[in-house]
Amino acid sequence: MKTRIALLGQPNSGKSTVYNALTGSRQHVGNWPGKTVEKNDGYYTYKGTRYTVTDLPGSYGLSGNSDEEVITAEFIKLGLADLVCILVDASQLERSMYMVAEFAALDKPAVLLLNMMDVAASQNKEIDHELLERRLGIPVLPFIAAESRGYDALRELLARELEAPHKLSSVPELPKGEDRGSADAVRAESEAKFRWIRRMLEGVTRSEQKKYEMSKRDRRLLSPVWGKLACFGTILLGFLAAMVICFPLMGIGAMIPQLLNRPIADLLTSLNVHPWLVSIFSIILPNTLYFCVAMSGFVFGVNLVFGYLEEIGFLARAAYQFDNLLSGLGLQGKAICPILMGFGCTIGGTCGTRVMDNWGQRMLTMAVVWAVPCASIWTIIPVISSMFFTPLQTLLVVVGILLYVMVLMTAVSKVFGRTLVPENARSGMIMELPPYHRPHWKHIAKEALLKAFDIFKRALRTVTLISLLFWVFSYSGTGNVADSLLYKIGTAIEPVTRIFGLGWRTFMGFLSSAFAKEAVLGVLNAVFVGNGTVLDATFRSAFSVATDNAVLGRAMTDVVGKAEALAFMCACTFNIPCVMALSTTYRESHSLKWTARIAAFYICGALILSCIVYHIAALFL
């Protein structure tokens, strides 16, 4: 029995909406064999039969312009789908029918979805889909992907067509020539395809070139200077909105360790359980749960906001505004949103990269987002800096950090860009700016919720693992820092860490900054003042002692010189962002290899920077 369906369509055709609506959470993401292209498979059950759905990568054509197009064409050619469901934008029918013209050469069974009928209707475009169906010889279904009511008809149609499939009865006549790959031949073929499209659409819809009037909103958003400012402002507002949305969730998450810490610890201690297990169950597990809840809260908020910004058509405009600037880094203009989001939270920025077109671009954007200091860093750096430096000098530190962000971004794109986004795959922007849509909230919220739940499930494992690892190192039976493995290793390798300008105490602070930036002050408090354990401080458990910045400042300045302090701040800021960002990157990229590579790059980079800063600063300070 034939049950394999593939979805084919251009960017903005609503393909992923249909895919998500059909399969819900029954999805699997992997990579195409040997390629850095994401492979999305899912399934659904209809009338007792299980159908698989493959979401083919979105592209404008099938002529092999990119890995995505080659894979898509091969997939269809090899007959790996029993039925191809092609999506076109009904409001831009002539242009988006190009995909149908490209598909025609492959001679496989298909159905056509005229998506965004609501947009077409709002532009007073009428489409005679029955006439089109007769001309093409395959079923044509008018559709609104973001509304749930049409899906029964779609499932019904797909089931019927899998039983008794139809192929296109009309295909474009392509010019015959010797030299099929030449630029001239390509142009002639495309012209022939559009001629065929015109013929198919004759009488189906009116497509006359009307004078285009920019909307008032576009007049502002697309202007070179004001538009960029408006984009900045919108993204900032979007980030704030995401924060407001995820705040309740994070609040609930934060209550988990506070509520569970003591009861679990008391219970287990009364049962005479070994203190090791007590600390695992009372500190590590509730906190892991908290981290994962907080993470998925963020992912939900960001996906909701990004889903909204993408659907209304804002993202395409931001991409247009910043394409020139970011192409220098080998990135698409769209990367501006995740990068700016990174100033708030690296996790948010990382999952914001889902708007990028392909895996390589996505991975590179994540690597670049890591360079952006998140809000937590901006809360600890001024505190530490002001212990050692005057306010003016602190300001200089902040400016220095911002300047280095640009250096680091360039370095990241130089080191990883060549492999992730090869030179020949870097082509300038040629993209459509879709008309503004009204958002379909129900659909956006559903997708964001799915994504957040998915991250939660997957992250539990990674975060637990890394937390346990940190626990092994920082556990101290007596509560005294000197009894932890971290202390023993730290002091043993101090001669080495000194090269990087860090003593064992600041080195511990550096290590904890890889865990969570919020943990840094607490850990410094534990190692300098001797208040509380590193473990409690890192996990901010109910046992951790509140940090008194003045006391910490005195204790730190006694032991640490200005040069070391400066080196330490640089090392912390440009270390890997945090366990949760690491885990999100792994979960979003599906590549352990690349996540590890980028993590190694950041750790080494932070230590080298710290080394350079220390030795130069030691000459002057």
């Binding site: 002539e94 630029a183 142009r187 082509s427």
Partner: protein
């Protein structure tokens, strides 16, 4: 004239698309073929050229837009 030399709000027809096969594939796939009518919507310095064509607003980066010969009405 080149697409990059067109004035905002002017209408015209695409005459010749230069460049290699790769550019030809990319640019024709989005709907820019020879003989297509278009309208320039925005043409700002250091920004992609915005054109309206086949009922679609399309941004074309300047390097590639340089290679497109057009005839304006």
């Amino acid at each position: 004239m080149k697409l990059t030399d067109t004035k905002p709000d002017s209408c015209g027809v695409i005459r010749r698309i230069g460049g290699d096969a790769h550019l030809a594939k990319r640019i024709t796939a989005i709907g820019l073929t020879e003989g297509t009518e278009f309208q320039t919507v925005r043409n700002d310095r250091k920004m992609p050229v915005l054109i309206y064509l086949r009922e679609t607003l399309i941004a074309v980066n300047r390097t590639d837009a340089e290679r497109i010969e057009v005839e304006t009405a």
